[in-house]
Symmetry: C2
DNA sequence: TATTAGCACTCTTACCTAAAGAGTGCTAAT
DNA sequence: ATTAGCACTCTTTAGGTAAGAGTGCTAATA
């Protein structure tokens, strides 16, 4: 048998073994591979090949005389080169869109709903991480007085995200003055990046004439009270769902494993940290982080499937799945990928009219 | 021995047994009770009393020839009549306040932080359920145009809660007109209950003269697009934390139990339903729902400790713990009670200046 | 009458062993 | 290069036993 045909057969067997293991969750024996895929060779031949695959590090045996299981390296090769993606049919896409978007009234609804639905149909844990607003551009600012010393600050960004913050001032401010400050800020800070707001305000203080100086000074009072930087830094939405799904997976019947994973999923900070580590600036495709590829200890028997989504060409969040390394990649990768596209489309659409302003 | 002395001894033994079981998580034997509490009677006497307590249904044996365990009825009696509350020291209260409130900038922060902290120091699962706004009174309304057909509606209620909704209109509306509608609504709908907004709007349509009619009509367009009722109905905040805590409890090493509990904790709808069932209009004290007292099947080996909190004398949410019926009630009841008071104080304080408006 | 020492009895838990079964690696034949 | 055959390994399951904890009951006692 020539080399390429032999390699082809090796690949076939690795693919068969991997998908069998993904389906059954039990170490795969040579005879099972033969039976399930009607290979025209004996189980002994398959065993010989399995030994080779094992030497290359693609598979391993939990113990001598058990069947084989893919290693992280095996899964990596399976995902990158072997598996056949099971794309979604058009009607599935339609249903998905309907389920995720029909009841969505604000950005937040989309964030929450998509991860809920993804958890449900993937049977894994799902998350959705909407980044903080640091590089967002201010489009509109509104100040509303709740009382003489309490002000509601409403910020609206270029991507149509709305945030509001309550500010308590030491000294009172009149409604009329507040209105003037509001107009002043909207005029002068429009198209500023949120992180730069304060710097720009101080610049205004220096540039403008006395009438405005007073206004800018008042505005500074407000933004000082807001402690902008710290606030925006932590101001991300992260949503997670499907813990009970992964509990059902046989690998997490071991409570120790489960505990480690829950520790991550339950803590927004930790989850954000893990996801940031897997972020890539150019996030056009779905990305898989398998087992030990993840530097976070508690997740080293898990895989992470992530995809970025955008608003108007800017990646604003990431979205995906957490589950055991034994995950139905061929079905779930296209799913996550499509849903990310769907989010991009929906969010961009949701905010597309902003430019008309 | 006279009757009251005999009852006193029975009570003491039930209390001892219950607190021993809470501490150790293992069925309590007659000799352990004797040893731990230096009762001046023999274990045989204690056994006789245990038989009586069992006949009354306060305790039971997991199997013949094991120690005893409190029943739901036993816990109920323990909580209502026997246990000594371990109140918080002043410095503990101070620390707690600092931890929960120091970084709080909006209502939402308080909701999230308190349940996080409660989970942490109780070692149980904690939740915080902030009711929807149906009976809130509108104090201020602001309309901000994001584009010609997209409007941001900001509602501010009497309790200082802020909510915003984006509305898409079919036909455009000018900024000037929007401003007039905004003023019109603020004037005419102020002090209206949120659920009544739409009804009141239609009344305005009939009452006012032509100039206003046009305005009110436009406003109706906006509120129709908002689908007020449905939206407010579901618009509650619910926050939950500490799943990994209850996982550590020995009663939840049984994955079946854990799964049932997680199903409730993970679903906001289900959790809200369970909590609503335990709600009491007059929520001045902390309330405990023990085991089968809860009609929700999956939680019948759990206890729920809840307390309501208020803004200006109106209960706006409830807050508390979920854990196994074997829970450290004597420590946790005062804790939940105090934290609820703390929230009432903080939220009322947070919004107290509203009246100055 | 209330209490208690003593003891037989029950049930759980841990541990051991044996048998069954699954799957392999190796060898020798094709 | 392939494969039939078989010995070997390791896991899993079941059963059986011994130890231990705790009880209920009985009869003796204060």
């Amino acid at each position: 048998m020539n080399v390429s045909a032999s390699n082809k057969r090796k690949s076939n067997i690795l693919e068969s073994l991997t998908s069998l293991y993904i389906d059954t969750a039990r170490p795969v024996s040579s005879s099972l591979i033969k039976d399930e895929f009607n290979f025209s060779v004996s189980s002994a031949t398959i065993r010989n090949i399995l030994v080779e695959l094992e030497e290359f590090g693609y598979i391993e045996q939990p113990h001598t005389s058990s069947g084989r299981v893919p290693t992280d390296k095996g899964y990596r090769f399976y995902i990158d080169s072997l598996m056949k993606r099971r794309s979604l049919r058009d009607e599935e896409k339609k249903e998905l869109k309907l389920a995720c978007l029909s009841s969505a009234r604000k950005t937040r609804d989309i964030i929450d709903k998509t991860s809920e639905i993804l958890a449900q149909i993937s049977n894994e844990a799902a998350f959705n991480f909407f980044f903080n607003l640091n590089d967002s551009i201010l489009k509109h600012i509104e100040l509303i007085n709740l009382s003489l010393t309490r002000i509601l600050v409403v910020l609206i960004t270029d991507s149509g995200i709305v945030r509001n913050y309550i500010v308590n001032l030491d000294d009172p401010i009149s409604t009329a003055e507040l209105q003037r400050i509001s107009n002043f800020l909207s005029e002068n800070l429009k198209d500023t990046s949120l992180v730069d707001i304060k710097v720009n305000l101080y610049n205004l203080l220096n540039e403008h004439n006395l009438v405005y100086l007073q206004l800018a000074h008042e505005a500074c009072r407000i933004f000082d009270a807001l402690e902008t930087d710290e606030l925006f830094e932590r101001d991300y939405d992260i949503h997670q769902d499907g813990i009970n799904n992964i509990m059902r997976q046989p690998e997490f019947c071991n409570l120790e494993y489960l505990r480690g994973v829950l520790d991550v999923l339950e803590s927004k900070e930790r989850l954000a940290e893990v996801l940031r580590a897997s972020f890539e600036p150019d996030f056009n495709k779905v990305k898989v982080t398998i087992g030990k590829e993840n530097s976070y200890k508690d997740l080293q028997s898990c895989s992470l499937v992530t995809a970025g989504y955008k608003i108007k060409d800017k990646t604003v969040g990431m979205f995906g799945l957490l589950g055991p390394t034994r995950m139905a990649y061929s079905r779930l990768l296209p799913l996550v990928e499509y849903m990310a596209e769907m989010m991009t489309e929906a969010l961009t659409d949701f905010t597309k009219n902003e430019s008309e302003r």
